[in-house]
Symmetry: C2
Subunit: 370 residues, 2 copies
Amino acid sequence: MFDFQIHHRDGSSAARAGEFSTPHGTFRTPAFMPVGTRASVKGLLPRDLRDLGAEILLANTYHLALRPGADVVGRLGGIQAMMGWNGPVLTDSGGFQVFSLSNLRTVDDDGVEFRSHIDGAALRMTPENCIETQAAIGADIVMALDQCPPYPASRSEVEEATERTLLWARRCRDAHRTSDRQALFPIVQGGEFDDLRRQAARCLVAEVPSPGYAIGGVSVGEPHEIMMRAVDSAAAELPADRPRYLMGVGQPRDILGAIRRGVDMFDCVLPTRNGRNASAFTFSGILRLRNQQYEGDGGPIEADCDCPACRGFSRGAIRHFFQVGEMLGPILTSLHNLRFFARFMARIREAIRAGRLAEYEKEFLKSVDS
Amino acid sequence: MFDFQIHHRDGSSAARAGEFSTPHGTFRTPAFMPVGTRASVKGLLPRDLRDLGAEILLANTYHLALRPGADVVGRLGGIQAMMGWNGPVLTDSGGFQVFSLSNLRTVDDDGVEFRSHIDGAALRMTPENCIETQAAIGADIVMALDQCPPYPASRSEVEEATERTLLWARRCRDAHRTSDRQALFPIVQGGEFDDLRRQAARCLVAEVPSPGYAIGGVSVGEPHEIMMRAVDSAAAELPADRPRYLMGVGQPRDILGAIRRGVDMFDCVLPTRNGRNASAFTFSGILRLRNQQYEGDGGPIEADCDCPACRGFSRGAIRHFFQVGEMLGPILTSLHNLRFFARFMARIREAIRAGRLAEYEKEFLKSVDS
């Protein structure tokens, strides 16, 4: 059911372009996954996401397990039916949200006790119930439970989290009974410590054979260079014939650097969150659409963009929607930003095919900085 | 530029079906106009409105004049360009909002002084600047400034408002210099007093020849029977070959009764406002989508509906979106409700064509009450 085909390699870097097949369809890599935290990419219809070029969506297990509950998602036909999206879906494990959103958590090797950030209810997550929950939700790709240390963290803290993540990955592997329809991706932790990253990746590859592997514990406040070193260390030990997923990363500069190091999948709330804040990505830099200068501006956000915002609306109209609090401002700018990311990934795939990713990266970074 | 063609008449009532042509296209009557108060039908893309069967939209002069300002709408290419809607648009005069939203208003024959409900700024609306503002906004159909008395109101209050409305209609007529591209519709007032309604309609027809006429001062809290009598009285005096527009009316029962009395156009926030409150119209009655009973309901809002909500999402998923505060709940339910109104108007037009509107009205009212 799960198959990764690499069609092109960039001559001068570890980048590759290909496609990954799942029970709900195939997506091209390198891929950017829009985030539909609570079974909805905020404000957008799945048909529009498809038209924009999205090929796989992400949903958050933690949020769905709290509301409406994994059992309800199952009764509604699974996450694809619930989202109205007949395509591949990935769910995270929920671990990241337990460690970042909930209060009063206590973690030991068995699992993590936490309180719901919504109503304070006491809950427990273990590798086994994490896999069970994700089986009920029914995504095509599910993630192993991991412990994500903060940044910065001491070596001993990171060591403990990395060992526990490995322990939990083995238990997830043993609990995973749906490999005919769900691919389980384990997660490499190791913080900023190259040897821990390498060792974690080696152990996971040896002990948890999987159709793909993720690199976690990044995009938690560390500088670009630290993130790139973490990718270098992990990617060096991950199998070349399996997709590599860098979790939660969405800054274009980080995406380019990670793809050059052999990463194939990304997810981030950046296009939709920034879109809701009137911040538009373009290939010549960021536009702040609330700025007074756009009041009477009859041109589109980006002249050569084919998204519904740019084809139908002026900067001035979109600014007005933000100024008066109309939903159409966030909706149009989210549509534009997701289209920007889809075009960005398409240009990257084309650059890989043409063996000129390094040049494309330079051109892009120069263009957005100017 | 403006032409009203009546294609069918219902044998047993004053109902008729036809079409009205404007510089931005033709719409079929009886017509329901979705409301885009601030140049946006809340949360919906114009393409979706078109797909749902909307043929003309309404925007509110009062709101647009305050923000972004009629001059800015003009600089952005006019209301159609601003809304991303290449079709007919109607703007109201702003008078209704001045009398219902703003504070500290003082009205005399010259015009009305009021304070903005947004920032308290002192403003003045006269028939002349009302027409000027609507000329800058650029809708296909513009409305004369009227004074809408509350319900209930004394006869002398209603007399004063009705006379002033006639005075203002004459001044709007004289100020209206864009009849090549904008149709000016005067408004019949007269409250619940049949003779005042008749007299107001007669005077307007004699003194303000127009491509269409509106009946205002309804849907302000009066019972159904009072509204229907007001329609009866006004419609009896309005020219049979011009469209009649009943302002702000959207309850299906009121729409049916008014169409039977010869009304051709309606607008109301009901489908979108109720949609944002999780209340869905169906041909078998209202659904409250937040109800617990829909939690695990995998069926669509309405089985035979072809809207994006019903084709792509379950009641359970939409309930979840409302429960967690996702924009997709209001968006999907607004789409469904507007599709309901479009299908409702299409069934009415078909019943008129077949000469069986009275039967259709009975069937419909029985079905939604059951």
